[in-house]
């Protein structure tokens, strides 16, 4: 009972589990959001509800009527889009007034600003496409089943597929017979989004894995605190404890499934689902087109939950055995990482039709990404016999689980925890011996960087930062126009892009001649001419070379249109910097080395300088992983020659008081950003110096800096007052400063950078002086004072 209580009543562990479940729900919701910015939550809910209502309304209607209704709906959304873009000027204005009154969705959009309303319309149009695609699937399902049968018949007649005993023939026959069973399945139209969203939400599988890992780590705690021997010396510290832990893991798997998948399903259904849909055949969902078992959606969900719990338990057992077999905690973690990365690489990158596909599906990730076993249909060749990937993976599950239970119990009874005699420890010993010479030649500064990268897992975190940085989006969609005149105008400007010479006038003249008096083209050419004259006038006044460039790419990456993208990326960069710098200072406290270091000749100022340098280097790598990609995104879409042209050639900076080229502007922008991010790293160093453990440091920094930044990025504007996201993104202040020459726009940046430097000085004083109170000591002092007052 004590072990159950230890595992399930640990406040920190259980709150981490709950936080993971909460994060899973938050990311699920964020995944449904059509955009991030003001009212994003409201827009998301409106769009999801719109989908559910539309699907419910059309559910029992015939195919023809559904298509007509969807077309009408799409037309209405289209009209509304242009109505919101051009207001009263648009021809559809009067028609729209009555349309809005008849639609709950459009009436709700009327209460939103233009940006969220337009995003909602675009999302709703995508939903219409989704419903159309679903309708195509429903209409063509039985034809699809028939085609598999026919194809199988034709293939069986062809000699190229080998003899009757060959894998190909057997595979064809198996596939045909399995799909033949689905002839009487009735697929129906309905609100699939809730269930498809639940099935395809990949992150839930990884959050579930995290929770399982948290429970597995609970079983290894005694090793980390060095009381393995004590536990094993107790009467019930071996086999019986092992049995209890196996049962605990089983219960934890079930509870975690309820928490993460149950919670996700509940959220998904409440957003865009309809409980009436649970009785439909699961093949009604497009993602289950190839599923060859007959189930209702509700039945499949129940089965999936049970399978997930069993898979979670098996994965937990695998991790536990792997981590428990290797005595040294560090090596066992390294081995775990190696195994998980290898399995992931095989699972993700091995082609489905590869001859090695058994290792792709007979893989730990088949038990993590279990939905793949239901959405993918594939037979694997095992001794010339076809076996379905689901049959193999789920069929082996009980065998693997029993084997792991047996192994765990044997280990619990027989294995001696002390001695470090495992193979990996020996190999690591040889490696240490070989590399010691190199390490001993490192300077003190080199040592600090080495410690940050390898002892504090900085290299590992940076690798993740670089990978995650690749998935960031840097461009915002800019609605240019649907106006015929403006479309011509943009096309002429594209043709004329480059230095502005007399050739431009010749081009305009020839374009006028070929415009055939088309009013839109003539008006566009007038506008181009006016633009060119304005460019010449400004260039002459400012003494710079006039260049015709489109500022669309510039605006989509650095402009006001990209404010939300910039905000999101700055928030993620903040999280990156916290992740890489938070452990630099508390590491010494955790190692118990502070006093020894400080007693050395170069243990104060020099060590602090090296630590700062390590933090700065890692911060720059994190910055580079984001900003290099941003620059690359800009350059790949910008007109050639934009970098060397004056910023005044861009319409958005036409009135700028500064004479500088675009690349100089970018240089200044990135310099300001780097200064702001460096200040952040100094703040992180200072705050983390008050914590004694790395975990406490991460927690404190996430609460102080990470959470407000994320909330702000997600549209909670109130957080803008307490988070430096805008300063770090720098786009807004710099834009304002360069555009209007208002130095006051940069005040907040200057204050933040000064604060960062001040924090660094305070942090240095704290490290070098002997007064080093910690949060805990503060709390003890406060408690003592309040106690004495009560007394």
């Amino acid at each position: 009972m004590g072990e159950w209580k230890r595992v399930f009543c640990d406040a920190r562990r259980m709150s981490t589990v709950l936080l993971t479940a909460l994060l899973s729900a938050v990311f699920f919701f964020a995944g449904r959001a059509p955009y991030f910015g003001p009212d994003f939550a409201r827009v998301t809910i409106l769009c999801e509800r719109y989908f559910a209502d539309l699907a419910a309304e059309l559910r029992l209607t015939d195919e023809e009527s559904i298509r007509k209704a969807l077309d009408a709906e799409e037309q209405m959304l289209d009209n509304y889009y242009w109505y919101r873009t051009y207001g009263k000027d648009h021809e559809s204005f009067d028609m729209m007034r009555s349309g809005i009154e008849g639609s709950r969705f459009l009436s709700s959009l009327e209460r939103l600003d233009d940006e969220p309303a337009l995003r909602a319309v675009m999302a709703a149009e995508a939903e219409i496409d989704e419903l159309t695609s679903q309708l195509d699937h429903i209409a063509g399902y039985h034809d699809y089943i028939d085609s598999i049968g026919k194809q199988a018949y034709l293939q069986s007649m062809t000699s190229v597929f080998g003899g009757a005993d060959s894998f190909a023939r057997r595979n064809i026959a198996k596939t045909a017979s399995e799909f033949d069973l689905l002839r009487d399945v009735e697929v129906e139209f309905g609100s699939n989004r809730a269930y498809e969203g639940f099935v395809t939400y990949e992150l839930a599988d990884y959050f579930y894995l995290c929770v399982i890992v948290i429970f597995v780590f609970a079983f290894l705690e005694e090793r980390n605190v060095g009381i393995c021997g004590v536990v094993r010396s107790c009467r019930y510290g071996r086999g019986r404890l092992g049995v209890h832990r196996i049962l605990i893991l089983a219960l934890a798997s079930i509870l975690s499934v309820i928490l993460i998948y149950g919670g996700g399903l509940l959220l998904s259904v409440s957003l865009s689902g309809d409980l009436d849909d649970l009785g439909r055949a699961v093949q009604s969902l497009e993602c289950f087109r190839t599923l060859t078992v007959k189930r209702t959606i509700g039945g499949w969900i129940a089965e999936y939950m049970l399978v997930k719990a069993a898979c979670g338990f098996a994965v937990g057992m695998i991790l536990w055995c792997l981590l428990g077999t290797i005595t040294n905690a560090q090596y066992s973690f390294a081995a775990l990482c190696a195994v998980v990365f290898t399995e992931y690489a095989l699972f993700s990158f091995l082609p489905r039709q590869s001859i090695f596909n058994p290792v792709k599906y007979f893989n730990i990730f088949s038990y993590i990404r279990t939905s793949v076993l239901y959405t993918d249909y594939l037979n694997i060749n095992l001794f010339d016999h076809p076996f379905g990937i689901r049959d193999i993976s789920l069929g082996c599950l009980p065998v693997i689980t029993i084997a792991l239970i047996a192994l765990t119990l044997i280990m619990a009874n027989v294995r001696h925890p002390e001695g470090h005699r495992d193979l990996l420890s020996r190999a690591a010993g040889v490696w240490d011996m070989l590399t010691d010479k190199w390490r001993c030649s490192m300077t003190a500064g080199g040592w600090e960087i080495y410690k940050s990268l390898f002892h504090q897992h900085g290299a590992f975190i940076l690798a993740i930062v670089i990978i995650v940085g690749g998935s960031l989006n840097f461009e915002s969609t800019i609605v240019l126009t649907d106006n015929e005149k403006d479309i011509w105008y943009q096309a002429y400007l594209r043709d004329l892009a480059g230095p502005l010479t007399d050739a431009a006038d010749e081009y305009i003249a020839s374009a006028r001649a070929s415009s055939l008096d088309d009013p839109d083209r003539t008006a566009a050419l007038d506008k181009v001419e006016a633009h060119i004259n304005e460019l010449r006038r400004r260039a002459e006044a400012g003494a710079y070379e006039p260049v015709i460039v489109s500022d669309a790419a510039f605006r989509s990456v650095y402009g006001a249109d990209a404010a939300y993208t910039q905000r999101m990326n700055a928030s993620i960069l903040m999280i990156f910097v916290i992740a890489v710098c938070a452990s630099v200072m508390p590491y010494e406290e955790r190692s118990g080395m502070v006093y020894v270091l400080r007693s050395q000749k170069r243990g104060r100022g020099a060590v602090f300088a090296y630590k700062t340098a390590a933090a700065v280097i890692m911060t720059f790598v994190a910055c580079a992983s984001v900003y290099i990609r941003e620059i690359s995104a800009f350059i790949s879409h910008a007109d050639s020659g934009i970098l060397s042209s004056s910023i005044r050639n861009l319409d958005c900076f036409a009135d700028s008081p500064f004479i500088m080229t675009v690349w100089q502007y970018m240089l200044a922008l990135y310099a300001v950003r780097c200064a702001a991010v460096l200040s952040l790293s100094f703040v992180v160093l200072y705050v983390s110096s008050y914590t004694k453990t790395v975990g406490a440091s991460y927690a404190a920094l996430f609460v102080l800096l990470g959470a407000p930044a994320l909330l702000y990025a997600l549209g909670v504007d109130m957080m803008g007052h307490i988070t430096p996201v805008c300063i770090i993104s720098a786009a807004g202040p710099m834009w304002e400063f360069i555009k209007n020459g208002r130095a006051s726009a940069m005040t907040s940046t200057a204050v933040w950078v000064t604060a960062g430097v001040l924090m660094l000085i305070l942090c240095k004083r704290r490290w070098c002086s002997c007064k080093r109170p910690h949060i805990r000591q503060f709390m003890e002092t406060i408690n003592a004072k309040s106690g004495s007052q009560k007394g």
Binding site: N328, Q330, H420, A428, G429, D432, M433, D436, R439, C440, M442, T443, A444, W447, K451, F454, H455, S591, G592, M593, V594, Y595, V596, L597, R598, S599, Q600, K601, R602, G603, R604, G605, A606, V607, S769, C770, K771, T781, A784
Partner: protein, 245 residues
């Protein structure tokens, strides 16, 4: 060579850890005896400037150690009571790293690292990670780093705790050898360690200096009526007489 503590006071909240402690150390071994919480580690942390003092001054050869800063730490070797080490480093890497922080480099660093590892009997395990070491081995690693850079002031807080008797005798002999041109402050609960090597023994009780004299003098100062703990009078009797409740 003189290390002088004058009217040193240190408080932890309401608790007085050191009460106007004044003492002068010259070359030699000073054994520091006191019950738990008597102020031994506090005194050592004050000398190493790891905690701030509430009053008094500490001077080395007449100069305040706070003003000397790095110059004082260059002559300081400190071995703490807690076994804080970088578990991921090997013994050799760790000692080399500490050597770098003491300002050693090149051949000098390499030679000194080899010497201190040999002195502390760690040559066989120098390529092993410290995380896997026993308490006694960690103790020797910490002692090794304290000996680097030929310190003039060596502060050893419980240096022989956790060592086996053979190793203890070896280390004790080694400290005795070192002491002719150094100030060695040795705090320990193992009274026999001090008795055999200390030139003077300092008795601390509740933050106050009770007495500082050579061991023989202390033993002789015991009253005739005192019943020895063992077969003969020893420092244990001194401890019991002066520091026992």
């Amino acid at each position: 060579m003189q290390l002088q503590l004058k009217d040193i006071t240190k408080r932890y909240g309401k608790k007085l850890a050191l009460d106007s402690l004044s003492v002068t150390f010259t070359a030699g071994i000073y054994g520091i005896l006191g019950a738990n919480g008597a102020g031994k580690s506090t005194m050592m942390n004050l000398i190493t400037d790891n905690i701030s003092r509430d009053g008094g001054s500490i001077t080395y050869d007449g100069k305040d150690i706070l003003e000397m800063g790095g110059a004082f730490r260059a002559v300081l070797g400190y071995m703490p009571q807690q076994q804080g080490v970088y578990g991921q480093m090997t013994a050799e890497s760790f000692v080399s790293y500490m050597g770098r922080l003491k300002g050693l480099r090149g051949r000098n660093l390499k030679d000194q690292v080899a010497d201190v590892l040999a002195l502390t009997n760690l040559c066989d395990v120098k390529h092993k990670k410290i995380g896997g070491f026993s308490g006694g081995m960690k103790q020797r690693v910490l002692l090794a780093q304290a000996l680097l850079g030929e310190p003039k002031v060596l502060i050893l807080d419980e240096p022989t705790a956790g060592l086996d008797p053979k190793e203890r005798v070896r280390i004790r002999g080694f400290i005795e050898e070192l002491a002719h041109d150094k100030i060695v402050l040795l705090a320990t609960h193992i009274v026999s360690d001090i008795e055999s090597i200390a030139d003077e023994v300092m008795l601390l009780k509740k933050g106050k200096l009770i007495r500082i004299s050579p061991p023989a003098e202390l033993i002789a100062s015991l009253p005739d009526t005192w019943e020895p703990v063992g077969v003969r009078m020893s420092l244990e009797d001194v401890y019991m007489y002066y520091l026992g409740e």
